[in-house]
Amino acid sequence: MHKEFLMGNEAIALGAVTAGVNLVSGYPGTPSSEVLETAAKHRDDTTYVEWSVNEKSALEVAAGAAYAGARSLVTMKQVGLNVASDPLMSLAYIGVKGGMVVLVADDPGPVSSQTEQDTRHYSAFSKLPCFDPTSAQEAYEMIQEAFTYSETYGTPVFFRPTTRVCHGYASIMVKDPSEYTRHCPEGFRKDTARWVIFPRLSYQNHIKIEERNVRLAEDFSSYKRNRIFPEAKETPIPAGKPQKRGIAAGGISFTYAMETLEQIGMVRLLKVATPHPFPEKLALEFLGGLDEVLCIEELDPVIERELTYLCGKHHLPTKIYGKLTHHVPNAGENTQDSVRTNIMSFLGYQPPGQAQTGSSSSDGRLSDHVDTPPVLPVRPPVLCAGCPHRASFYAVKTAMKGQKTIFCGDIGCYTLGNAMPLDMVDTCLCMGAGLGIAQGVGHIEPDTVCFAFVGDSTFFASAIPGVVNAVYNQADMTLVVLDNSTTAMTGHQPHPGTGHTMMGNIVDKIDIEAVLRGIGLKIVETADPLDLSAAAACVRRVAGEPGVKAIIFKSPCIAVTNPDGKMKIDSGKCIRCKKCIRELGCPALIMTDGNIGIDASLCTGCGLCSQLCPVSAIIPSGTAVCTADRPEASKGGSHE
């Protein structure tokens, strides 16, 4: 054993490697992506790791490996599970031979997601067990146990960390490589009665699954990570409130609850590590003698519903509070502060802060006249300086000016094209949906010029069926593929168009243009979006044609290339019209004391701004400036 400072996702990956995982597959998605990347970094020669084309493929690949007796891990974010749900639901009936862990990272907030869906429901829906870690250290150990449970019960299991567990770091104890488990898969054994799903088999297995989950619930009641924390001998519940109170919590919320209870005094606490099948026996032990229980959890009230159900089933008088009773917010993520407030008010303490409001005299520490903070800058995320997506959107915007259009966006960095001043994303729903939406709008409003924008990784993941649908059903639309040669938003993962894999192999690139032509598109043009006039001309030409046609804007993400240089403002020429700032919204274009400037630490020299400047005042930084009397540009020093 030794100590390492690890991100939760790294700890999970290392835990899987420690458990002898043979295959890891997945599709990138915040907050899950680092799991697979770390597994790839630490894998031994016998372990196979891949970024699959989407979550459905990833889950199927992992299932196949587990059919062959391997230990497999598949990783995705919560919305990715929607894509993988088809094989998942059937796989639940078939089961596995080797241990299989389906890692789905949930995102309360949501911080970087379209939905606040709760994978614990998928767990109950599919009848698959679910493990819910509270910290990096626990996640490291728990995933090893999850593999064991999966093998013991012959079923895939869910492992569901949330954002703060995934992206929290901790110094944790991990095993040395010499202590790793080596797992040798036995291989696939033909047995059609086992591996081929038919109605009869599903019926029989359904009976077995229900029986198994009763046993699992029993088993989970003695699983060490589900546990009751005893109350302190003299719990200082404020006077006048004689009720016996307890708290039930899971995930990161458990850690918030513990921080508060350690300060104000421990009450009885149920930690739920396996929300499904619910550890009923343990929960009953917890509920015994309590008058009231507060449930602290993120996303949906899963623990709360289970406890409410148990109270009904066993005629217990205990009142269960939480999201359903509006004692805890039912949307957004919990914080140390929100949990503290919830617990304090449940236990009858005055919430922090209120006591001070009541007191009449100020402590005089702070001067009163500056009490209202100045208006804080709003900082929505923006496309990076030099991002080729900005150029692509601007080219389409310029070309289509004055026409009735709809711009259907998709999932990726380019969703940020919605912000002002570009304002080029009218819809965004889920991976690959822009194509279908553009078609639907077009069928209802034939006079609208319909565009669908999709990134290269999203194209391979889920846009191809949408293109086939458009061609087959005679849609009239323009597909714009924003090909930046990477999966940028989630941290630059490779994909089928990049020509390399997670195993380090150089492979044939799958050519997007060839795919589109193969589907039957007659018009497919590839253009450089950073050449503004050529790109806009291309849009005019292509969008004017009937039927389904495509433009591929090809220019690499600035994070995977070396910038060409930088631009600068020739302030003698600059007429301060601010067109560059108003139309592009590039973070490198700044205003200081009424002058336009370029932040050299951000500029990549893409040159887009120089192409729209009406007086050619934006020039490459190496260029000499002739005018002698320009306003002070480089006196340097501070702004004060």
Binding site: K3, Y256, Q336, R340, P374, L376, P377, R379, M591
Partner: protein, 194 residues
């Protein structure tokens, strides 16, 4: 020794490496450490933070409001945003240089870091404003912002780590060709600390 540290700034400013260095230095001294940071969409120029906690008996990497021993602010406005996390008598280190958000540039909304600094001054007794622009110029690199601020944090004594601890962390975590530059940022802050 228990310490709660908040780092804050704008996506791309280098808060992540700074938090790694602090954690690494704590690890070397065998102090348990936890941290959490913004990952995802906000990294594209949005507001970002790192929470770092050191010491025994911690359950969570997230810091509660009113409990940070020190806030290391990479940008004045972002530091004001995080002010509720500072404990009574806590230390603030802040870079003077403001970063104008695209939204402000577009709408001609004035955004002046000076207002933010004034607000911080009025609300904290232990405030150190670092003239990072001046310092970067003297050192000859814009990439030392995070080390300047860490250097100031070390000098303030509120970090619970010394310059040598950070140097060890730099040797471990940063490519060798940048060691000298980073060391220079630390010593600059030692010499210019008021």
């Amino acid at each position: 020794m228990n310490k709660n540290i908040v780092l804050c700034g704008v996506g791309g400013q280098g808060t992540v490496l700074a938090s790694k260095l602090i954690a690494s230095a704590a690890m070397k001294k065998d102090i348990p450490v936890m941290s959490a940071e913004t990952i995802g969409m906000a990294q594209r120029g949005g507001s970002v933070f790192s929470h770092i906690r050191m010491g025994e008996g911690l359950y969570t990497p997230m810091i509660a409001k009113g409990s940070a021993d020190i806030i290391i602010g990479f940008e004045p406005g972002e530091t004001v945003r995080m002010l509720p996390y500072l404990k009574d008598g806590g230390q603030i280190i802040v870079s003077r240089r403001a970063i104008m958000p695209v939204t402000a540039a577009l709408s001609d909304t004035p955004y002046d870091g000076g207002d933010m600094i004034a607000y911080l001054k009025a609300h904290t007794r232990k405030l150190l404003v670092v003239d990072t622009e001046q310092a970067c110029q003297e050192i000859g690199s814009v990439r030392v912002l995070n080390l300047l601020l860490l250097g100031a944090a070390v000098q303030s004594g509120a970090l619970g780590l010394d310059e040598e601890d950070l140097k060890t962390a730099i040797r471990e975590r940063v490519p060798e060709k940048f060691h000298e530059l980073n060391f220079r940022a630390l010593s600059y802050m030692r010499e210019h600390y008021i």
